[in-house]
């Protein structure tokens, strides 16, 4: 397993997983939460995700993202849906100017939990996967290598452009450009900063295109090989099967619950 720690990703079972298995996990967990009629399943998955983050040794940034996104969006949605949702019938709290409805709050909770499951699993996948491996895995399953190039190149070009814009900002400062003050001067500073970056990047892209062409990038009918080999192991198969079984179970149980065949502890606000 060469080169993993050097890519800034701590070694862990999650980091050793095949990227495609992880993506299957994101889809399975997210869709299961979406299909489940209330927010309880999602809450459980979020707890599991926190455990997984601790295992992958990314707990600190993970909880930062989850709380940093979760708290504002919960407050927002509780306010918007809880107080003003059209399906509110039962008031649980009187805020003075509006009443917090039970159904809207449950709906908001369900949305927040679904979002957090998608966000968390996506973030974990992203944090534990080296992009080169992801792209190699994508081309393995038949995604055109040009798309792979585009993803990797975008990831590389952006820091490069940020460095360039720092240089341009300093040189424009030296020429007397004001980037502080009121709204109008700041808005005026936008174009002198952006223009040189755009034009020099465009000329750069010309060179890049020629370089790629000379190395056979546009060649047809040949399957390109990859520098990075991504191995699909038995544990990946097991995990993928587990994810699929979990998704199917959640779908079946969710449908049954919605059809009224089995009852769950907390009903989704939308049904009341």
């Amino acid at each position: 397993m060469p080169g993993r720690a050097s890519n800034g990703i701590p070694d862990s079972p999650l980091a050793r997983m095949h990227p495609m298995a992880k993506i299957a996990g994101v889809c399975s967990l997210g869709l299961a939460t979406l299909a489940w009629p209330d927010f309880t399943l999602g809450l459980g998955i979020i707890v599991i995700l926190f455990v997984a983050a601790a295992l992958a040794r990314v707990l600190r940034p993970f909880s930062g993202v989850m709380l940093g996104f979760g708290i504002p969006v919960t407050l927002m949605l509780l306010f918007i849906q809880g107080c003003y949702s059209p399906r509110n019938t039962k008031a649980i709290l009187d805020l003075g100017f509006a009443e917090l409805g039970l159904e809207g709050s449950l709906y908001a909770a369900k949305i927040v939990v679904t979002l957090l499951v998608f966000l968390g699993s996506f973030y974990l996948t992203n944090k534990t996967t080296y992009m080169g491996r992801l792209v190699a895995a994508l081309t393995q399953i038949g995604v055109p290598s040009k798309i792979g190039y585009l993803i990797l190149a975008s990831l590389n070009v952006v820091p490069q452009m940020q460095r360039r814009i720092a240089v341009i900002e300093q040189s424009q400062h030296a020429r007397g450009l004001e980037t502080g003050g009121g709204l109008i001067p700041r808005a005026r500073a936008f174009l002198p900063l952006l223009g040189p970056v755009v034009l020099s990047s465009l000329t750069d892209s010309q060179e890049r295109g020629m370089t790629l062409e000379t190395r056979g990038f546009g060649i047809r009918g040949v399957r390109q090989t990859s520098y990075l080999e991504v191995v699909w192991r038995r544990s990946d198969t097991v995990m993928t099967i587990l994810f699929i079984v979990f998704l199917v179970l959640a779908l079946v149980l969710g449908c049954l619950a919605r059809a009224g065949l089995i009852t769950l502890a907390i009903q989704w606000g939308g049904r009341a």
């Binding site: 973030y123 590389n156 700041r186 174009l191 034009l199």
Partner: protein
């Protein structure tokens, strides 16, 4: 048969030249966003690159560029942006086809592009906000505006739509304006290698003379007062590109001068 020719037209847009342009355009999109946040402007400005590439390489490349921008944002910043890829893709297509129809050469056409882009973005982004996120994402100031409007009108869909419309009209207006200025500054030697250099471009290159038009300059053109003043300072296209830093710094001064001229008149 027409479907096949359409497909061939689409794949023809994806030459290597256009492909290497896509990461650049994605970069421009993101740089626009970061710049507007470092300059503390209350805007996104994250579709400048999409608009520029729509002018250079065509609608489908622009659509792919929009998709990649949102994927990149989701990977790097916040996965919340991922569903909005739909509105980026649609905007790329709309701008691309409007540019293809020649609308980016006249001021009224640019205004049309702006309005169409703002409309498409408003509708799709609001639908995504309501259907996926239930009304607010909590990642920017628009959510606060939405919440305030919800209190006022007591309807979630209407308040999301109106806050999104306000935001998009301003944001896309500035985006299209900046993209227009940038596209006019790109040297024709560079423009001519891309898919969209149609036969009628040759006539248009003649009025690529005054490259230092600033924002207020364009607004004035939109007001219809430009025809007397525009050919006043003809300038070589290539020269402006080679000294792009210099001409850019000259911008505020130039437009200041023009503004004083205008006030004298």
């Amino acid at each position: 048969m027409s479907a096949r020719s359409l497909w061939r037209g689409i794949t023809a847009q994806f030459s290597t030249k256009s492909l290497v342009l896509i990461p650049i355009a994605v970069g421009i999109n993101l740089i626009g966003g970061t710049l507007s946040s470092t300059l503390k402007l209350p805007l996104f400005l994250d579709m400048i690159g999409t608009t520029v590439i729509a002018c250079l390489s065509g609608p489908w490349v622009a659509a792919l560029c929009g998709l990649l921008t949102n994927i990149f944002l989701a990977l790097v910043a916040n996965p919340v942006y991922l569903p909005y890829a739909l509105s980026s893709v649609l905007c790329g297509l709309v701008i691309g086809y409007m540019v293809k129809a020649g609308l980016f050469k006249r001021i009224w056409g640019v205004v049309l592009v702006w309005l169409a882009c703002a409309l498409v973005n408003t509708v799709t982004a609001s639908l995504i906000t309501v259907l996926v996120y239930g009304g607010a994402t909590g990642v920017n100031g628009t959510s606060v505006l939405t919440a305030a409007l919800v209190v006022a009108v007591k309807n979630i869909v209407i308040s999301v739509l109106s806050s999104s419309m306000l935001e998009n009209l301003i944001d896309k207006g500035i985006t299209v304006l900046i993209a227009y200025v940038i596209v006019r500054r790109i040297p024709k030697r560079f423009l001519s290698q891309y898919a969209l250099d149609g036969s009628d471009d040759q006539a248009d290159l003649d009025d690529l003379d005054d490259l230092d038009e600033d924002e207020d300059d364009n607004e004035r053109e939109a007001a219809g007062a430009s025809s007397q003043e525009r050919p006043a300072r003809p300038r070589k296209v290539d020269g402006a590109a080679e000294s792009d830093c210099g001409s850019s710094t000259g911008d505020p001064a130039d437009s200041d001068r023009e503004r004083t001229q205008r006030s004298e008149r």
